[in-house]
Amino acid sequence: MTAIGKWTIPAPRKTLVVGVADMVVSNDSSAELVTYSLGSCLGIAIYDPVKKIGGLLHIMLPDSKIDSAKAVNMPYMFLDTGLPRLFHAAYNLGADRGRLTVKVAGGAQLLDERNIFNIGGRNFQALIDLIARNGLAIHSRDVGGMTSRTLRFDLTTGNITIKSPGADAYPL
């Protein structure tokens, strides 16, 4: 807060934008993490409420086997290479595995009867499998549908809001 006469101006909030196929993990509890254009992609947010450490990963595809070169250059593009990095980055900052909450949004689907194009569904299934294999749980989710989403993650409270075009924001 900066005081000017009797007015107080709140310090501008630090917003860290997580791009597509990107990740941010932070222990700056005053920051907000945001990711745009979650279509069939998944936004996966983890949070340690005691240490106020949060991380947000924006993956596009379930499995890096389709392109091992890209998995090296852009590990956050894929769930199988991105998710372990998300957790390890949070552990490195001091997050406690037992306290971490996992929330997820995205996974929209095109109208595709044969499911060839259903990357959203495959992304979410791959997440469920990997989370279960590691004995973890998904605490809340807003997945599927035909709309894209913007995810905002407040590191002070751990609250997450989801906003779709032409609709009001709601908590995750």
């Binding site: 597509v20 196929a21 254009s37 979650l38 279509g39 069939s40 992609c41 596009m60 595809l61 379930p62 499995d63 389709i66 392109d67 890209k70 852009m74 593009m77 929209a108 689907q109 095109l110 109208l111 595709d112 009867e113 044969r114 499911n115 060839i116 194009f117 259903n118 990357i119 959203g120 495959r122 549908g145 035909m146 709309t147 894209s148 779709s164 075009p165 032409g166 609709a167």
Partner: protein, 283 residues
């Protein structure tokens, strides 16, 4: 309402330079010479000035700045020039918000550029389709241009009806438009292209980008349909109904498309996002 009535209703579509349309119509010719490209552009001073400024931007990394259209075409080649001219010509027209689609300014334009990029990739991947790259790029860029018309002419009442249909019946955007309006953005877009005297191949591909033509042999609309879907999956799905797009089953069977193939294309489109950003900055 027919597509004709809708197009006639639109009064203030931003003008597209005649020289740019002339350049697109050259796509119809079996081979284009540099001279023809230069001649098409020469009559438009404003476009030429913008073109030269774009060519001299750091992105193209030219050792010596270019000072004339002849030079620019000679150094960058007419395929590159076509990309730049189309970006300049249609960019300003398409960077508009479409409240009826809940599409913010620049989103439709980005989606068009991403689809153009995907379209080139698909033309390269499915060589049997025999689609030239400049044609693929152009049709990707223009496939949703009908949304500019519908965005301006749809009343709030009609928009609500379309939205309800999509939400409650889970049908595609184009299908809902057809039910409520009797026409859809692909038909309207094709009509707009026709009124600009653009090649029939492009008109057909825009008209059918949601129902691609596969018989007697696959047409350009096949590429446009696939590119549009890949662009959506690569995160460019503007509007609240961004994913209300129906995949054509016959096309998937006919081209024997696999999930891995789609995922690879999505990854490649993401990788070329720098190029899209560069084109965004040219408009």
């Amino acid at each position: 309402m027919t597509a004709q009535e809708l197009v006639a209703k639109v009064k203030n579509l931003p003008p597209v330079p005649h020289a740019a349309l002339k350049l697109v119509s050259l796509l119809d010719l079996p081979a284009v010479s540099n001279t023809e490209v230069v001649q098409a552009l020469r009559c438009d001073n404003v476009l030429t000035a913008k073109l030269l400024r774009a060519c001299n931007s750091p992105y193209f990394g030219l050792a010596e700045p270019v000072g004339s259209v002849d030079q620019a075409v000679f150094i960058l080649g007419h395929q590159q020039i076509l990309h730049i001219v189309l970006t300049i010509a249609f960019g300003s027209a398409m960077v508009v918000a479409l409240p009826g689609y809940a599409v913010e300014a620049s989103e439709l334009w980005r989606h068009s550029l991403v689809t153009a990029t995907a379209s080139e990739m698909i033309a390269k991947e499915f060589t049997d389709l025999n689609i030239e790259l400049p044609v693929a790029f152009t049709v990707g860029l223009l496939h949703d241009i009908g949304k500019l018309v519908l965005g301006q002419t749809l009343t709030a009442d009609l928009q609500v009806k379309i939205r309800r249909l999509i939400e409650h019946e889970h049908i595609a955007r184009a299908e809902a438009e057809k039910i409520v309006l009797g026409t859809d953005h692909s038909e309207v877009g094709a009509l707009l292209l026709q009124s600009w005297h653009l090649p029939d191949e492009l008109v057909e591909a825009v008209a059918n980008h949601h129902q691609p033509i596969l018989t007697p042999k696959p047409r350009l609309s096949v590429v446009t349909h696939l590119a549009d879907c890949v662009a959506h999956l690569a995160g460019s799905a503007p509007g609240w109904d961004g994913y209300a797009v129906r995949i054509n089953n016959e096309l998937v069977t006919s081209l024997a498309i696999t999930p891995e193939q789609i995922e690879q294309m999505v990854a490649n489109v993401r990788e070329s996002s720098d190029r899209v950003d560069q084109f965004m900055s040219l408009a």
